[in-house]
Structure formats: C-alpha cells, structure tokens
C-alpha cells in the first residue's frame, strides 16, 4: 500500500525527472570532455610524429637509405616512447625498434592506431601505439609512431567506469528522492489528517507548525489562521442561534403560559374557551415552525456534527416504518420496506430519523388511497442510498428544485397541514452528512433519495464527542 503511493507522489516524480535530466546532462558533459581531451592529446602526438617524419625524410634525401637507417638505429636504441620501422616494399624490416610490420590497414599519410609487442627483460606486453606511414621514394616505407599505451588505458578505464558511475548515481538519486518525498509526504499527511478531523467536526484541531520557517510552515500557519477565523464564525453562528432561540422562546413561552392560565379559568363549554384554545393551537403551529427553522439552521451550521456516531440505517428505517406504517394503512396505502443488509454510516441518528420521517410523511400525504409506498436502502457505487418511493401525485419536473427551498408549498398542498419546511430540513440534514437529496419521477409518483457518499461512511473521529454519544465502533 505504501510503495505505490510513494511512486504516485508529486515529490517523487519531481525527484525522478530531476535525476533523469541530471544523468543525461552529466553523461553528455563527460562524453564531450572525453572526446575533447582525446582530440587534444592525439593532435599533440600527431604534431610530434609529423615533425619527426619531416626530419627523417630530409635525412633520407641528404644521406640516402643507409644514412637514414643509421639515424633510425641510433634513435631506436635511445628508447623512450618513440617507435620506428623502415622497410622495403615487401615490408621487410631494414631498421627500427619494431619487430615487424604491425597489423594495420595500409593507409599512407594518415594516422593509425595499432597494437605492438614490447619485450622488457624477457617479458612481452601488448601495447598501444599511434603513428603514421610515410612512403619514401624508391618504394621504401617509413613508420613513425609513439607509444600511447598509458593514455589508451586511462581512456579505456574511464569509459568502462562511466556507465557504472551513472548507474550508481541513479540508484542513489532514487533512494534520496524516496526519502525526500517521504519526508514531504509525512508533512502533507499531517495536514491531511488535521483537515479530516476538522471535517469530522473537531474545529479545535490545528495543523502542526515545526518552527523551521519553511514553505510547509507558511502553509500550516495560513491554514491555521483560516481555521481560527472559521472557528470564530462558527462560534458566532452558534451564539446567534442560541440567543435567537432564547430571545424568541422566552416571550413565546410567556404567551403560551398566559393562554394556558386563561384556559384554566374558563369553563370548557364557553365560546371564549374555544376561541382561546384555537389560539393555543396556532401558537403551537408557530412554535413547530420556529423549532424546525432553528433545527435547519443548526444542521446547516454543522453544529450537530458533535453528536455523530456510527449508525445502521436499517435501524432508522425499521423504527420510522414501524411508526408511520399504521398511518399509511389507515389511508389504504400499501407500505413496504425492502429488506437490506447492514448499512453503516457516520451520522446523527435523531436528525436522520427526522429526515426519513419527513420523507415518509410527505409520501403518505401526497399518495391517494390505494397507492404504494416503498422504503429501501440500496448500496450504490457512489454510496449508500435511503430511498422513499411512492405512487402519488409526484412533483412536476419544473417544480422539483423549487420544493427544496424553504417555505415552498405547492398549490396542491396548500390546504394540508405542515410547515413547508419538511423537505428543507431533509436538505439541511443531507448537507450536514455530506449527503445529497435527489428527487425524481417514480412513474408514477415521487422517488426521494438520500445518498450518503462512501467517504461519509468513514470512521468517526475517535475523540469522545461533547454530547456523550458513546465512542463509535471502529470501521470494519
């Protein structure tokens, strides 16, 4: 798991490309130096040989063959790096310190390289030489060469070592790159880890800063500053909802109390009692709307994240179906729950139950007698889906996105009870869980689907939650 991920990292790719470029340019540089040095050394040797041939050819012209042979013999015994061979047309040696004509392609007036045998104290070694053949008048051949064995050996050693050094460099580079990218990965991982914990609801987490002042520290500092601001905003939001809740609930409470007190004083048969009782019902409806709005605000602000736990959607479906089933039967609707396997998600059970209740309640409300309602859980590639499908009146395509807005009630539902916030709450609950609410045509009827993506099917942060929800089970 670790290795493939390492190869996919940006850091590793950068290191790899860098090594490749470095290897190619190093090889090019070495090749150029090699070629240039060899050329310089060769031309130095060639000039010496040319000068010597010039000198010897002058001797030949002045002193003839015998004179030239004498000069060559005297130079040959001097030893050193110079090699001579004077032969007749059939390459029979006349004078010189080479034993025989070397095995070379006969190319007069051009420089050749060849091997020759040298005897030092009874030991024969094969050595490298570079020289030039000069044709003398009268068919005689003069070969003048210099021993370049040391230089040749150095070059040969150099060219056999070069590929190995390059290889070694590549291997070291890859290992070094691996370590470097691992180091970078570790720091990125810590940033990722923190982000995940924050998304799971723990806003107090911060990205660790090492204090080295490098780019990662700068990034971490910026992220932390951003998080501070978000946390401040969230706290502000919570204070606002709390104080709105408190400031509206207190007068509503007094109003409700007064109505109750008045009701207690009146005989239940009086006209006033009926009047005030209907006012109480209105107030209760107002309170229900207010509570629903507050709940939506809380869910949208992500406040309920703290009460997240691992829950099985099957339990929610079972409970809500059991609660609403009789209501559907009362209306002569067939209400059926599709069997399903375990469907664990990280979520707030109460809110998901309420969301499902709202969907089922809508389905019952808008499906005429004799219709069908089916609740199911489906495992999809994109996640786990909670589906409520009915055979009711449905929602025209043009209205589908509008019904998800707050307080929107379609003409057909104008006269049935409800706050107009049912679907908005479902949307808010979906958002809280990074889920999506899709409504589509069930042909006939409506199909509402709450899709919880797989990454919300993640293990919940292991820190104990504020609300005291038991620590979630580890992911299976």
């Amino acid at each position: 798991m670790r290795a493939p991920r390492l190869f996919r990292t940006l850091a590793f790719r950068i290191v790899f490309i860098y090594i490749a470029i470095f290897a190619v340019s190093a090889a090019g540089l070495v090749a150029f130096t090699y070629w240039n040095t060899k050329r310089a050394l060769d031309s130095q040797t060639d000039q010496t040989i040319d000068a010597e041939i010039l000198g010897l050819s002058e001797q030949y012209q002045r002193l003839g063959l015998g004179g030239l042979a004498d000069v060559i013999i005297s130079r040959s015994v001097r030893g050193g790096q110079s090699l001579y061979l004077l032969t007749d047309l059939q390459h029979h040696p006349i004078a010189g310190n080479l034993d025989g004509w070397p095995q070379i392609i006969y190319r007069p007036d051009s420089f050749v390289e060849f091997n020759y045998e040298r005897r030092v104290g009874g030991l024969t070694t094969l050595r490298r030489a570079r020289g030039r053949i000069f044709a003398l008048t009268g068919g005689f051949q003069l070969l003048v060469a210099r021993d370049v064995h040391e230089r040749h050996e150095t070059v040969r050693l150099f060219s056999t070592t070069l590929p190995w050094s390059l290889m070694l460099m590549l291997v070291l580079g890859v290992i070094g790159g691996g370590f470097m990218s691992r180091n970078l990965l570790a720091r990125l991982d810590s940033i990722n880890e923190t982000s995940r914990e924050i998304m799971a609801g723990d806003l107090s987490r911060r990205v660790p800063v090492r204090g080295s002042g490098d780019e990662f520290d700068t990034l971490a500092t910026s992220l932390n500053r951003m998080l501070d601001r978000i946390e401040r905003l969230m706290r502000g939001m919570r204070e606002v909802t709390d104080s709105v809740a408190h400031d509206l609930r207190t007068p509503l409470n007094r109003l409700r109390n007064r109505i109750d007190a008045a009701l207690r004083r009146l005989p239940p048969e009086s006209a006033e009692y009926v009047e005030i009782e209907s006012a109480a019902i209105e107030i209760d409806q107002l309170i229900a709307t207010f509570n629903a709005l507050l709940l939506i605000a809380e869910a949208e602000a992500g406040m309920a994240r703290e009460a997240m736990a691992r829950i099985d959607l099957r339990d929610v479906v079972e409970g809500i179906s059991e609660l609403y089933g009789p209501l559907a039967e009362e209306k002569n609707l067939s209400f059926d729950v599709a069997p399903s396997g375990e469907a664990m998600i990280a979520g707030n059970k109460r809110l998901i139950a309420q969301a499902l209740a709202n969907l089922v309640d809508n389905a019952i409300k808008y499906t005429p007698e004799g219709g069908k309602i089916r609740v199911s859980i489906e495992n999809m590639p994109a996640g786990v889906a909670l589906i409520v499908a009915d055979s009711g009146i449905g929602i025209p395509e043009s209205e589908r996105s509008r019904v998800l807005d707050r307080f929107v009630r379609l003409e057909v539902s104008r006269h049935s009870p409800g706050t107009g916030l049912g679907l908005s709450l479902v949307v808010a609950v979906a958002k809280l869980h990074d889920a999506r609410l899709d409504i589509s045509d069930n042909k006939p009827g409506l199909k509402a689907m709450l899709l919880f993506p797989h990454d919300t099917v993640r293990p919940v942060s292991s820190r104990p939650s504020v609300a005291g929800i038991p620590a979630p089970l580890a992911a299976k």
Partner: protein, 225 residues
C-alpha cells in the same frame, strides 16, 4: 406534592408557580442557581423544575452538585436553548426529563406526574391491572375479563406505558419519547393512529371504555370514566 421551581424569568416563574398551586401542589421558588441549590439541599422536594440558564450557578451545574451531594430529587430541565445536543447534556448532568420552552402547561404537569410516580415506585410489578384489563409483564400477554388480547410488541409497550401511568394524563410527546424513543416533531399525529388501533383492541365490544382522550392534552387509561 412539594415542588421547587428554579427560574430566573420572573413572569414565567409566576405563571408556573400559580399553575402548579392551582393544580394542588406546594411550591417554593428560587430565581437563581445559588438559592435553588441551597433550597434543594435543605428541604425535601418531590420534584424540582430547573431552568438550564440561570444566574450565579448554571442549571447544569446546579444539578451536578445536587447529585454529588447524593440528592436524588427528580429534576425536570426547562430550556430555551437550541436543542440538538442540549437534551443529552441535560440528562447526562443528572436531569430526569427535559422540556423545551415554550411548552404547554398540560405537558409539564403530565411529565411532573410521571416523574413523581417514578420517585415512589411500587414493589417490582410483574402484572399491571386497570379495571378488568390485565397485563402480564412476564409472559407478555394481555387480557380483558376472560378474553385474551393479541398485541404487537410495540402495542404492548404502548399499553404498558399507559398502564404504568394509569389515571395520569400522558401526552403524545411523552409516548413518542418513551415508547418509540424519538425526540422530534412528527408533523402528523402518528401517535393518534397507534392509540386508535390499541383502543380497537382493548375497548371494542366492552361497555366501559378504559382508554380516554384528554382534550388538549393527550390520553389516559383508567377504570372509572
């Protein structure tokens, strides 16, 4: 019954105290957490009503301290806060029930009755009886007179709850919370459907109905009409 009301909103406190007195209870009041704590520690109460947000000592803190002193007086929290995880916090601090403002007075009374009854439980019962209706908690069977009644598990739990609170008003919210364990507004009165089904099973064909609807409040099971 002796009831302590700890509430800093004086008008709400006045209504609460008057209402409880009219209902025949003896009521003490406190307007902050400090007075509330010292009263509840020095006098015996059957139940205490505590607001969540109080001056000096917060409602949660008050109950925590009370419990630390070994005091087990049932506590009903009243809260005007937003409620997603507030209820859990309240119950965790040692509260026994939780009611969000604004509440209907009948709801409060019904819950107080339930709390006080919990305070004095009769010896562990294995059978409950209301009139000629009998519920056997061991065999999970019900019968009225000589006729046995066939109940679904949830209907059994519903009837059990009603019979444990016989002659008391039980509200729809209480039933939803206790029998179904849901704490939300079901929009439609789903509970009514369950009650009418239960009623059809236990009262249909008998001269005296046992399960009564209490106007504007909820339901009650009792032998005498």
């Amino acid at each position: 019954m002796r009831i302590l009301v700890v509430e800093d909103d004086l008008e709400a406190q006045r209504y609460l105290v008057n209402g409880l007195k009219e209902a025949g209870h003896v009521v003490d009041d406190a307007e902050d957490g400090e007075i509330g704590l010292s009263l509840s520690l020095s006098r015996p109460y059957d139940v205490a009503i505590v607001d969540r947000m109080l001056p000096k000592i917060d409602g949660l803190k008050l109950v925590e301290e009370l419990r630390q002193h070994g005091n087990v007086t049932p506590v009903l929290f009243l809260s005007a806060l937003s409620e997603v995880d507030d209820r859990v916090k309240g119950l965790k601090a040692g509260g026994d029930d939780y009611l969000t403002k604004p509440y209907a007075f009948v709801e409060l009374l019904a819950r107080l009755d339930a709390l006080m009854r919990r305070r004095h439980p009769a010896a562990v019962k294995t059978r409950l009886q209301v009139g000629d209706l009998e519920l056997d908690l061991l065999t999970r069977t019900a019968k009225r007179g000589e006729a046995s009644i066939d109940l679904q598990p949830r209907e059994f739990r519903l009837l059990e709850y009603l019979m444990r609170h016989a002659s008391q008003v039980v509200t729809r919210t209480m039933l939803l919370e206790s029998v179904w364990e849901y704490h939300f507004d079901p929009q439609t009165n789903v509970i009514d459907v369950h009650i009418s089904r239960l009623r059809a099973k236990i009262d249909k064909g008998f001269d005296t109905p046992l399960l009564h609807t209490v106007r504007g409040a909820g339901y009650m099971i009792r032998a005498r009409a």
